[in-house]
Symmetry: C2
Subunit: 550 residues, 2 copies
Amino acid sequence: MMDYPLLLKSILYRAHTVFPEKEIVSRDYSGIFRYTYADLYKRVCRLAGALDRLGVQAGDKVGTFAWNNHRHLELYFAVPCSQRVLHTVNIRLFQEQLVYTINHAEDKVLFVDEDLVPIIEGIADQLPLVQAYVIMTDKDSLPDTTLKNVYLYEQLIADGPDVYEFPSFDENTPAIIGYTSATTGMPKGVVYTHRGLYLHCLTTLVGELGSDERDVTMPIVPMFHVNAWGRPFSDTWVGAKQVYPGSRPQPEDFCELIHNERVTFSAGVPTIWMGILNHVRANPGRYDFSCVRYFLSGGSALPASLTEAYEKELGVRLYQGYGQTETSPVTFVCFPKSSLDDLPESEKYRLRTKSGLLLPGLEMKIVNSEGREVAHDGKEMGELLLRGPWIINEYYKDPEKTKEAFADGWFRTGDIVTIDENGYLQVIDRTRDLIKSGGEWISSVDLENTIMAHPDVLEAAVIGIPSEKWQERPLACVVLKPEAKGRVKKEDILKFLEDKVAKWWIPDDVVFIDEIPKTSVGKFSKKTLREQYEQGKLIKFNDPHVPFRH
Amino acid sequence: MMDYPLLLKSILYRAHTVFPEKEIVSRDYSGIFRYTYADLYKRVCRLAGALDRLGVQAGDKVGTFAWNNHRHLELYFAVPCSQRVLHTVNIRLFQEQLVYTINHAEDKVLFVDEDLVPIIEGIADQLPLVQAYVIMTDKDSLPDTTLKNVYLYEQLIADGPDVYEFPSFDENTPAIIGYTSATTGMPKGVVYTHRGLYLHCLTTLVGELGSDERDVTMPIVPMFHVNAWGRPFSDTWVGAKQVYPGSRPQPEDFCELIHNERVTFSAGVPTIWMGILNHVRANPGRYDFSCVRYFLSGGSALPASLTEAYEKELGVRLYQGYGQTETSPVTFVCFPKSSLDDLPESEKYRLRTKSGLLLPGLEMKIVNSEGREVAHDGKEMGELLLRGPWIINEYYKDPEKTKEAFADGWFRTGDIVTIDENGYLQVIDRTRDLIKSGGEWISSVDLENTIMAHPDVLEAAVIGIPSEKWQERPLACVVLKPEAKGRVKKEDILKFLEDKVAKWWIPDDVVFIDEIPKTSVGKFSKKTLREQYEQGKLIKFNDPHVPFRH
């Protein structure tokens, strides 16, 4: 066979050669912007030429600080295809994390969306390596800014030829770098190679959950978050019409775009799906979602109730995927096997809460605390280990954290899971969030989901607190709905659990708090709750008679 | 990213891990045989162990001389996954070609289907390198045979453990070797690597024409012919139910299997589709094909009339793919783009006769006789060059033919094509079959198709014959339907063409013959016709007054 490298330029090549007429829609600052794949190609070529003129060398990092829009898509191709490395800076990081990641990656140029400029202005004096800023907007002049060496994106690419000779190079060359929102310490860098992204994006196009030329796709998951799960590459490859929701999109924006552009496929996290559902419920008859084939949910557990509401109220199938920043990210996708067609309806919705079936090309191993592989019975729990061509083998410039996360060529996901006889993975908990009680494991996630099914509960997080007798015992931290505050007591919560979980799972206590602390990407920060507990702060909003406090 | 090789064992791993319960159906000698992917895996492991015991080393060639059945599928995995090389010997080759290919590949063991043993017996004394023969049958004792060192497949794999540690190795390791049925000289060897097959088979699963877990697939295209277009690997990867039609299948067998097993997808050549159509027409009401999603046709041009008949009479969509032995084989697939939905019906059927759109991961170049790239206008003709990860870069042990077929890293397909503004490729002719007349090209294929539309014509082939004035001129070799013989004259054929092709395309003459000579895979052998013409033999069945003979 030919020695032909797997490079991202292959995706761009097919799109403009086979699908030049297909459309890309982008919610720009001044309104909806439309162009074709033929136009995309020309602008990508001009952008690559502009990077040449800016003096950005092969291997140099180019940062983006941007929403999901067509300029970001152009950067997805122009930067890696011209052998530079794209750093998709997570706009939701805290200030010190932003400074850390931009400096750690050594970004040389930073492309910034118009409305995000103030954030960068606030840290620019701490970014000594950034030599130029490029502001992404459809306005024809630069906004007032304190940034130095500033260019306007549209002016930058206005000149130069419409063609660019994208080089060929080793397929193991870095293409994109991203950072995980670590739960301890600073974010960890993850480098995606051309080969890894090529194989990940091709594989997520296979089978039940692939998109094709007839799809209209809208990635809701941010492009600064694990490459928007690879969708910008995958959907370009098959020539789908693509819709980018732009700056600070609200549920109404998503609903308008789905309705107007006839979106068939989208991908996002459960909180987004919940927001869209609530907006549709509040506006009966306003939106027609009959165009939708399915939506993909990931990032955190998908409640069965949400899946059911989508199917029954919107007529939309909501499927779940599973993955991590370290795994490009998709590794499992949950679709119902034909052999399970005869399951009762309630079981089918329960099946949808599982993480799903392993993608082609990957290998998994689920090992218990003694390192032995668990049975495929849906019961025995173990940590999920993964290996494959789009799983990282190190954290960028971080040998210590690399050592912790890998064992014998396997990536340790840190997720405790089961797998059933049909091959469906279920995530039980994060290793560090599992509660080890009397030699057994209690799933904090299961407990939380059960508590959150209480009609008066808005949010709930469960953490393990030290116990002399049992090693650890669960403590429930509960946020009540405003109207229930003062009325609902901790005894009500504990009673609610009685017939729903094993007796020894029932938390030793319940504390009512005003809000669950969140990480920069919106996940429950149990680390913060554990710290607050250790510092005696968790009693702050609590019933003064809670016995466990000291 | 992990340094994780792309190996075929990855396909087997997913199938038995994720889809252990899914079914494989095989038309065996004594009836329909059924088992699961879990069973397949165990038997593949035992087969690999048996090859160890037979002393077959890494890199050794293992030949198969077999139909499409489950034992052949087991060999597809056991041989390459254990680092040996599978040689799928083409059972339709002529005797001297069989001897040549088996010796040229240096097959050490030959697996032979029960009913094909007599063919091998006839050449065994010319196969000095074959150390053992294994007979594939469900009978429990060896048939009478003159072969030496003979094993019974089922006895060979009866012993040994159900597990096998398939090794990891360089993804560029050879997995399968096949031979093209060359039109000149002996067949040419083509080696497929693990990486090449992995990427080919994964890519053919993408988009409109992919199969998935809910499919029931039946490869009609033989497993001894370009890996059955990769279907055994692709369909195993996604956990589809697979149906193998077994020994000497007739249209009735295909129809029974489609109807009984609820086949949703199949792949084969146009003559097979014609045979199935005729059988269904002859048995109205007997078969229900409503289960079929679509059939894929390839190997030779798909007539619009056949596509239309399938759609209108059987309710089945027939799509066309394009490729060569040298390209693994699939490189283009023809599906209707959404932007062409408004075409009139007749135009849609015409579109289906095109070779289609380039697959993800490949690059094409279409160059005219001066080496300049042609316009994408559906008119300008040029030779198709291809490159990509599943295109060969040499013929096995044949530097001379290798030199002819490659130029600057591109594979020269030898096909003269056009490409239109929508990216659809159309094959006009083989380079060597094009007729060069007065500095212009005449497509022999176009002329043949037009002549074959005459109601009295069974088959027609057009060749170029030398002309002092024009360089070459077309000669039509026509086979009339039995009832038309003697009645239809060459003037009738020429008149029929008058309003259908350009005047200068009209053949200088027509010869009526009894049959078009065919290659070993059933294609028109124009080489033979040209030789017959040169030897003055083409007049044999002809009107004695044809002026051009001499």
